[in-house]
């Protein structure tokens, strides 16, 4: 069976959100009346609208089957950029600005297929020094140059 995968997937994502948020609004919050609306009223209404749109998109995906190609998916970029950001979030306070941005720079460099290790090291070192100078020294962002792991 052929269907428009992009429309269908979008509809499915919208439906998941609509169901979860609608369910939460109706069960965990007071809905209230139109005059005295509770915290759940407006979100429940929105969830209803979103569900309608989701159903429309999923229904249409079977009628309008033509779609533009997905193209390449940048798995490598998704993985390494996400790791870089999460690692920075988890360790920034313990590592500090200089090592933290160095590590984040190094991991995110791996997102590009054309980056070589020596180049990545150089870029990461540059980022570390640059960010330390601009943000810690210049703009006083409250992140020490070296964090608690270095006794900072």
């Amino acid at each position: 069976m052929s269907f428009n995968r992009k429309d269908f997937a979008t509809g499915a994502i919208f439906a998941v959100f609509a169901l979860i948020y609608g369910f939460m609004s109706l069960t965990t919050m007071q809905v209230g009346t139109p005059v005295r609306m509770g915290p759940g009223f407006f979100p429940a209404m929105l969830s209803g609208v979103l569900l309608l749109i989701a159903l429309f998109l999923m229904a249409r995906s079977f009628l309008r089957t033509a779609e533009t190609p997905f193209g390449e998916i940048a798995w490598r970029a998704i993985i390494f950029l996400t790791i870089a950001i999460v690692v920075f979030a988890a360790t920034a306070e313990s590592l500090g600005m200089l090592p933290g941005t160095f590590v984040a720079g190094l991991i995110s460099s791996a997102a590009s297929r054309t980056m070589t290790p020596p180049k990545a090291l150089a870029v990461a070192a540059g980022i570390g020094v640059f960010c330390t100078l601009v943000f810690t020294v210049g703009l006083h962002v409250p992140l020490p140059i070296f964090g608690s792991w270095f006794g900072g």
Partner: protein
Amino acid sequence: MDIFNNLGLGFSVVLQPINLMYCFIGALLGTVIGVLPGIGPLATIALLLPITFGLSPEGSLIMLAGIYYGSQYGGSTTAILLKLPGEAASAVTTIDGHEMAKKGRAGPALAAAGIGSFFAGTAATFLIALAAVPLTRLAFSFGPAEYFSLMLVGLISSIALASGSVAKAVGMIVLGLLLGLTGTDIYTGARRFTFGTRELLDGLDFVAIAVGLFGISEIMRNLEHSNTRTATIARIGRIIPSKDDLKRMVAPMVRGTVIGSFLGILPGGGALLSSFVAYNIEKNVSPNAKEFGHGAIEGVTAPEAANNAGAQTSFIPMLSLGIPSNVVMALMIGALIIQGVVPGPGVINNNPTLFWGIIASMWVGNAMLLMLNLPLIGLWVRLLQVPYNVLFPVIVAFCCIGTYSMTNSPFGIYQIALAGIIGYALTKLECEVPPFILGFVLGPMLEEHFRRAMLISHGDPTVFLTRPLSALLLATAAIVLIVVAFPAVSKKRNEVFVEED
């Protein structure tokens, strides 16, 4: 005349050395980042937003406004020299701008863009100063029903600018509205959608979400292709336009300014729409119509003037009504709120120095741009040669630090990562992010006014239709929705956006 007193007050704010410096830094940073291909005004502001948090409200908004028109300006430089629009609004500039560059007339093309922008900026500044007070007065007659309807117009209009399916765009708006409600309910104090976490009590972090959705997902998209950009930059040559060039620039400059100023005020309008419309009109009225597409200076001047005028006048609804007409203004509203200023008609009375300071700073900033750009163009061109492999890790680091500096906790940074993945997935599914962000910002406001209106009308939903101004606004929203959903129009709309590629 009041307007001169008001502008005088504004200039006394912006001419303070510290604010002049913020204005200069904003224009400079905007130009620098705007010149880098693939980073438009939206991403630039999202990235640099956190830097401004430590400043005074005036300094912060003056700098952000500078970043906005600076990055817009930087975008036209790449459009002319590289045939790479730094942002969507300068897409039409590539057509004739790059043709001129190929003929060795890059200099006059850059000058035409600069002079056109400056003229438009000056005119739009006066227009804002003139229109702001009466509009603010009108805003005071707005009740909750009118506000609700006006925001609906803004949201619906954002669909007109999204290039994909109307149903998806509406869905993205609703999703944005829904996620925007995360946090503590202002009326009852109840927790909503916090999933039991303490961190989400204040809601999802607007800056982190914007940075992730625009910045990180954009990087992922750029890394899809392994080929690294090899830029062939046109030679610039003589900058100063000839007498004939200047003569040919005058009328398009004026027409572009008028078109841009008007479209900028409309909710959902702004720089992008302005430049497209101005180019098409110019193509039809110009005596040199035959030259269009082959390097007509009119084809650079008119859209550049229009997009600058549109960018400026889009501040009008934001400043006088507190309603963002486009996503950049949504970010500005976010900045105002973070600065402790409640956006809306009260700003002009409660914070006159802020209000008039921003307006005066626009003129000053535009003058700075002209001085920054034309003589230093060679310097900016060199920026175009920074390889993307160096650029993107720097942007990632900036995103993380910027968000951290705002929240002082790692929690916001995790949101960037998540928003990045979601943003990338959504663009892959041809869902556009700007309507989502607009919904996200407007969600709490929309709900507040909806609840208030219903409370006042004792639960009667017809209040939105029986109040004339509100009914008029709703009718506008309905017309826009019908127009964009109508197949013939949406086909036309697609053509416009295909041309842009």
